[in-house]
């Protein structure tokens, strides 16, 4: 059996009186890509934040690598890409990558090779000396992704990584994610683009803070007797109403 990387059990989260996560339980194992799918405002980013210890859950158990978050040392093994591009505009792409590599504790010797590798995956090699302030939205997104991949972390958490990225590159990025999965990385991806769900090993459908389905895309499609995940989603939503 594959190693369990992330485990959420009966997690609750409220912002004020507004319940954002309600009894969410799900796992992520080594060597799999799990897609967290749901409309915007469903609570996808919140799941990621409580998992990484950026927000405190109000109830339930969360473990990452078998340990309770938050744990500073565990963050070494996690590559995170936030939903908003948190980049330093006055620095070049290279300097951004270098800085975050240093923060992640990548050794000085390895940094150039790591940056080179990450930039190649997101196809930014030619613009790496440019200041990020002059980047387009898609380029910023790709740079954020490259930062998440630095240091070859065993757990990769990506919050809407493909927003604003054109189809050819999107395919290339998913291809790369599959390759990382095959290397034994555990990958958690959120998206509100339903057809990307087909590319994951397992989808967790999130609606209004509740997990309404959690299985392989093919199994879900069969179970709901539809052709794709989008229809699964619509049907599940209808069942709930």
């Amino acid at each position: 059996m594959a190693k369990r990387i992330v485990q959420l059990q009966h997690v609750h989260k409220k912002f004020g009186t507004h319940t954002v996560l309600e009894d969410v339980s799900f796992n992520l194992d080594q060597g799999e890509i799990v897609g967290l799918i749901g409309p915007s405002g469903a609570g996808k980013s919140t799941i990621i934040k409580v998992t990484l210890g950026m927000e405190k859950a109000d109830g339930g158990q969360i473990t990452v690598f078998g340990e309770q978050m938050p744990q500073r040392q565990l963050l070494k093994k996690i590559g995170y890409m936030a939903q908003n591009d948190a980049l330093y505009d006055s620095l070049t792409a290279y300097e951004n990558l270098e800085f975050f590599a240093q923060m992640k504790g990548v050794s000085a010797k390895e940094i150039p090779a790591q940056i080179d590798h990450a930039a190649k995956i997101v196809d930014l090699k030619n613009q790496i000396k440019q200041r990020v302030g002059s980047y387009s939205g898609g380029m910023r997104r790709r740079l954020s992704l490259a930062i998440a991949l630095l240091g070859n972390p065993p757990l990769i958490v990506l919050d809407e990584p493909t927003v604003g990225i054109d189809p050819a590159l999107r395919r290339q990025i998913w291809h790369e994610l599959s390759r990382l999965r095959d290397d034994g990385h555990a990958i958690l991806v959120t998206t509100h683009v339903m057809d990307e769900a087909e590319l994951t090993d397992r989808v967790a459908l999130l609606l209004d803070g509740k997990l309404i389905a959690n299985d392989k895309p093919k199994i879900l499609e069969k179970q709901y007797q539809v052709a794709n995940i989008e229809e699964v989603f619509l049907k599940a939503e209808g069942d709930l109403a």
């Binding site: 210890g53 950026m54 405190k56 996690i78 995170y80 936030a82 330093y88 620095l91 300097e95 240093q102």
Partner: protein, 369 residues
């Protein structure tokens, strides 16, 4: 090593922001030069006194007073019109052996100057009159008695002026300079570091940073190191400029001046970071200036603290500028030694430690470890 990487990154960002650089390094010099000019001008304001029916000798005496000019008018009406039209700053009329002075009083320094000149000259006139009377009395006395009078020296004693600090041309600006120097360091470091951290917050880079294994304290120390360095450069520039261009004298050790300003910069930095926690936008950060920055200058010793009410003195005690201004004034104007300003330095250090601890703790908002 993460501290150093953060320091380098913050410095890099600063160096690429030309506008901020100008604000930090050029703006203080321009403002200091302007203030120096303004205060030197203020010292040499001239007054014109319009006289009516005043004796020739008195007019001459008044004219001899520095920065005072006399214009004689034939009637009271003419003098009053001149006063109204701002041709003269005050009028002096002699009626039935009494003097009547009217001041325009639109500029209190001019009024003061005219008043002083009149008083001095009138006193002198009175003295002259007394001397005349005395001489007349003396002449009537028997010659023997006059001979017994001790010989008074004919030469009037000269006053030799000596200045412990600066020279006879020292202006109010010289007294203000140490305080201003501290204030500029405080103000610009507060504003710019506060803004820098605020933009890390709003752009999400701070949150992003805290999802790496970096220590919360590393971030704060990295900022302190970079802004400490900026403060050194800024202070050196200000000191060199005021000493060489504005001819202000630094009596004490330049190292002590640097030490004080670095500590002050670190206070300003931690206060800026602390304040930015409560701001959601750059505009909100600006709104803190009247609350946090402006009082610092009122209670920094420009107006003597001893003359203030108790509550005001207590307020001054919790404002870091007071200690920095105190120490800077002592070193620059009185050649104070390290031990003499140790109390002030300790106070600044306490501010730094408390605020820094608060800032490191405050980052728990983004990560609990």
């Amino acid at each position: 090593m993460r501290i150093w990487a953060i320091t380098k990154r913050v410095l890099k960002q600063l160096l690429r922001d030309k506008r901020t650089l100008a604000l930090m390094f050029i703006a203080p010099l321009v403002v200091l030069a302007l203030m120096s000019y303004i205060f030197s001008v203020n010292m040499t304001s001239n007054v014109t006194i319009g006289t009516v029916g005043v004796s020739q000798t008195l007019q001459k005496d008044l004219n001899k007073v520095q920065h005072v000019k006399v214009k004689a008018y034939s009637s009271k009406q003419k003098a009053q019109t001149a006063l109204k039209n701002e041709q003269v700053d005050s009028t002096l009329e002699k009626r039935h052996n009494n003097f009547y002075a009217t001041y325009a009083n639109t500029d209190s320094s001019k009024t003061k100057l005219a008043k002083t000149a009149l008083q001095t000259v009138l006193k002198q006139e009175k003295m002259n009159g007394l001397i005349q009377q005395f001489k007349q009395v003396q002449q009537k006395l028997p010659a023997t008695a006059a001979q017994q009078q001790p010989k008074t020296k004919q030469t009037t004693p000269k006053i030799h002026n000596d200045y412990r600090y600066g020279n006879g041309n020292s202006t109010f600006f010289a007294k203000l300079m140490p305080i201003l120097m501290g204030f500029f360091v405080f103000f610009f470091v507060f504003l710019i570091s506060g803004m820098a951290l605020l933009s890390e917050r709003t752009s999400g880079t701070l949150e992003r940073l805290l999802v790496t294994p970096v220590r919360r304290s590393d971030i704060i120390y990295g900022y302190m190191l970079s802004y400490g360095l900026i403060a050194v450069i800024q202070t050196l520039l200000i000191v060199i400029f005021t000493v060489t261009v504005l001819n202000v004298q630094v009596l004490g050790s330049l190292w002590l001046v640097l030490l004080i300003t670095i500590l002050l910069a670190l206070v300003a930095l931690s206060l800026g970071i602390f304040t930015s926690t409560f701001a959601k936008s750059e505009f909100q950060m600006i709104q803190f200036i009247p609350i946090i920055v402006i009082p610092q200058i009122f209670f920094s010793g420009i107006i003597p603290l001893e003359s203030m009410a108790n509550w005001a003195q207590w307020l001054a005690d919790v404002l870091p500028m007071k200690y920095a201004a105190d120490a800077l004034t002592a070193v620059i104007m009185k050649d104070a030694t390290f031990t003499q300003i140790a109390g002030d330095l300790l106070a600044l250090l306490i501010f730094i430690i408390v605020l820094t601890a608060g800032n490191i703790w405050g980052l728990r908002r983004y990560r609990k470890v």
